[in-house]
């Protein structure tokens, strides 16, 4: 089965056919996706800003990172299901042909991997013993990756 066949199966599954016949389902799911994006933005930004020396700079980095991670997970719990549903809605007729979609799918795992593997280590490390260049670099990479994901998502556009 090719990728396109698979996407077709998703798009024409009974649940998705029902979803498309509703004029409200798609924008409501898209709105929830945007709320998730806002929360993800907040959770990512407070840590990245702190790494760059802005925001809550008098608080211990590890503490902020721990608090933020909880809300990052909440935002992902909203973003992933709503994102998958939006994709399934028009998987074979639209998403398959969109470069922005494939860019997003390539960068999203990188962003997740970087956030939960690299940046988490940097944020959890002893601040005094660390070269500030590394923490700043981690913040810049994190911001670039997540921005790419968001911009590519926006570029997928309305259905």
């Amino acid at each position: 089965m090719s990728v396109l066949d698979f996407f077709e199966r998703l798009q024409y599954s009974p649940l998705l056919v029902a979803m498309r016949s509703s004029s409200w389902a798609f924008p409501v799911i898209a709105s929830l996706h945007l709320m998730g994006l806002a929360l993800l933005g907040g959770a990512v930004l407070i840590v990245d800003l702190r790494l760059l020396g802005f925001g809550l700079r008098n608080q211990p980095l590890a503490q902020i990172a721990r608090d933020a991670e909880r809300w990052l997970l909440v935002s992902l719990a909203v973003l992933l299901p709503t994102g998958i549903l939006q994709f399934m809605c028009f998987a074979a007729t639209k998403y398959y042909y969109l470069t922005a979609f494939w860019v997003k799918m390539a960068v999203l795992p990188l962003a997740l991997l970087f956030t939960f593997a690299v940046r988490r280590k940097v944020a959890g490390a002893d601040e005094t013993g660390m070269n500030p260049v590394w923490s700043k670099l981690a913040a810049v990479v994190s911001l670039s990756l997540w921005s790419t994901v968001a911009i590519a998502g926006r570029w997928i556009g309305l259905p």
Binding site: P27, M35, A38, L40, G42, I46, N58, D67, W71, W155
Partner: protein, 143 residues
Amino acid sequence: MYLIVLTVHVMTLCLFVGTAAIVDLRLLGLTMQKVRVSEVMARLLPWTSAGFLVMLISGALLFYAAPLLRYQNIFFRAKMLALVLAGVNVWVFHNTVYRRVAEWDLDPIPPRSARMTGGLSLVLWAFLITLGRMIPYQVYWFN
């Protein structure tokens, strides 16, 4: 051009609503309980304000691209109403509960009135996002 402005508008959502949501969550006692409320506000609100400014400018440009269509759009009108309500909520908070912040600055869970503001703010911004996203799905047009 419209798409670029729209992308800026959506991206700034992360900065604006994102940082506002963190402040609201602190007011609800759901995050950073050990950090003083006034410190969270002082350190994050400048970013929220900067985000809001970009939101306002990009939003005004998006409106200006099709002023009549937007004005006739029920979701646009509702969004502007929600925006006013959100503004009133912020104003009331800063002029009442927050005046006495010294009394509850270090409370892990702030007093009821502060929690109300945080909750209301989250609900209103969620409404604003939804109404904004609904604008292209207009079903009823005003004359």
